[in-house]
Amino acid sequence: MAKEKKEKVVENMETEVVAEDTRKVVLMQGNEAVARGALAAGLDFYAGYPITPSTEIAEILSEELPKKGGKFIQMEDEIASICAIIGASLAGAKAMTATSGPGFSLMQEGIGFAKATETPCVVVDVQRGGVSTGLPTKPSQGDIMQSKWGSHGDNPAIVLYPHTVKECYELAIRAINLSEKYRTCVTLLLDEVLGHMREAVKLPDISNVRIVNRLRPTVPPEWYKHYDENQKYISPVASYGEGYRFHVTGLAHDALGFPTNKASEVAAQMKRLKRKITHNIRDLVQIESYMMEDATVAIFAVGICARSAKAAIKAAREYGIKVGLLRPITIWPFPDDAVKKMLRDVDTIIVPELNEGQLINELHRLTKDKADGKIIPIQRSDGEMITPTHIFRVIKEAH
């Protein structure tokens, strides 16, 4: 593949890799990259349940974790897996689980509990085809809305979406870092194709990786509040067995973690959860803007569709059409500003996605004038990928 000018302008990105990596090139599978990335970020605990196409993550971690004193356990189902990692996190561990669509649906109550109790953990959802058991070995991007709205009630969603094996590694680190920093459950969404495919990857040296640990309390136990209000909103978190003896409950709770029905205390909790996202958009949102400077047509895509888009862009550029790609790396919170800018700069936007319209709804949400010709969907949910030629044909028609 010709060394094309890959202009990776990643706005406001505090990259996980702080220094130029010098490691040799490695052929690595996407799932393996997720596992290795988690280990690099200091993963202590993994609980999971086998499900295609994410099982490789569990297999690798079952081999690697014991070597470094970490804990691996295969639970009886996905519900038990999410509960076990929350328990481990409350006991001080950096904890993760990985699953696919069906398991992700089972985990929703637990994910909501992790977010409500502000307990750091990471859930990896390697999406598979179709609805229900669908197409276990085929790709889809059908869990995008579920990754935000899956659990009942308003809860903050931080969801990252890699599109290369290298990015799987980096975003696994970033997911654990963000979960520790913001005391919540961060989701890593992968496409089955990315999870299973192998790519030549130059991984950063472990020493160059930026590790974030949760804020530790500095006050003695008598003054400790598990959800301290005046720490703005991310308060230090103690672990079980350190002398703090705090209480955690899924019920609406006050600063001490005790259940409450008082409206003011419940409002304070809900506001705190909301502000985690709204006050940190700059830190959370990462988006790749690829050849967008002179673009008249833009493609808005994530994950594996973005790979096809990049190939289509190359062909279209040679054909003389100025096309660019806007690719959210963080899909929740949704990069509203960058998308609004794109909507202003470009007259037509093509949205290829492997579902029946999920990302596109977010674009419609942001367009004032519902100019229908402006946003062109390419949607496939039959388990096959959207090919570069397909995108290229749509570019030509739209031009």
Partner: protein, 281 residues
């Protein structure tokens, strides 16, 4: 009020929590909480070393009242949470408080697997034969024929024997007692806490305000009298005929065996890499 005798229990309750507690008049959960605390006091455990986890239901409102590391989880999921905590910190003494529905209905799958794994967790099942918190629906241990808000014509469901279930699934310490026999409860819980492996203690409990009223079994005192008069110690059952045993609550330790505990098994696995337990951050 200086000379008011301090109860053992008061030293372990959370002082910043509103008392009296949330349970109804005559409910056995309070009595059993007292027995649990007395067992812990007798063993002189350090409070920082105890983690009490509960699911959802009347009995699961217990941890918030005690001054340990406490966690009030999701309905039926206390055991996976506890497994995560125990695996991460094996030195913690993990106690799970759960109810008959919480443990054997929605939590049934986790219950049998925790038994199978023989992880060192003490599970106390407060069996009051009803879903009390939600107003009186029948549970897997509501006697067949009994009234509940969802069995107005009499419960047709057959019943679980929690101890049989636990023993069959592999728990290495299984016992049953009743809330009335508070001293026996205290003693059995003490043994369960000392037992290394998965221990299940079923405490037959009274729910007078809901189950008692729905089935005309009287108030708190009457239901405790029923426990007193209708239960037999395990040893006495050898000399009793099946007819005599009909409808009797059998109390005692049914099973107490030593088997490799799950965290030890994992530690053995890690020892091949001669890695010290990772220093706690």
């Amino acid at each position: 009020m200086a000379n008011i005798p301090q109860k053992v229990v008061h030293k372990y309750l959370r002082h910043n929590k509103k008392f009296p507690h949330v349970w109804c008049p005559g409910c056995s959960n309070g009595t059993t909480l007292g027995s649990i605390i007395r067992a812990i006091a007798e063993l002189n455990y350090d409070r920082d070393g105890i983690t009490m986890v509960s699911g959802i239901g009347c009995s699961s409102r217990m941890p918030v009242y005690v001054d340990f590391n406490t966690l009030h989880t999701l309905h039926g999921r206390a055991l996976p949470f506890a497994t995560g905590i125990k695996m991460q910190k094996p030195e913690q003494k993990v106690i799970v408080i759960t109810g008959d529905g919480d443990a054997t209905a929605i939590g049934g799958n986790h219950f049998i697997h925790a038994c199978r794994r023989n992880i060192d967790i003490t599970t106390i099942v407060l069996n009051n034969n009803i879903y009390g918190m939600t107003g009186g629906q029948y549970s897997p241990t509501t006697p067949t024929g009994d009234r509940a808000t969802t069995s107005p014509y009499g419960n047709i469901d057959p019943v679980f024997d929690i101890c049989e279930l636990a023993m069959a699934a592999g728990a290495t310490f299984v016992a049953r007692t009743t809330a009335f026999h508070a001293l026996e409860t205290q003693d059995i819980i003490k043994k369960a806490l000392e037992h290394k492996g998965f221990s299940v203690v079923e405490v037959v409990s009274a729910c007078p305000v809901i189950y008692g009223r729905l089935n005309k079994k009287g108030g708190g005192p009457e239901m405790m009298m029923h426990m007193r008069d209708n239960s037999v110690p395990l040893k006495a059952t050898e000399k009793m005929t099946p007819e005599q045993l009909e409808g009797k609550i059998v109390r005692g330790i049914f099973k107490q065996v030593n088997k490799l505990e799950y965290c030890d098994a994992y530690a053995n696995l890690m020892s091949q890499f001669n890695v010290k337990e990772e220093a706690k951050k």
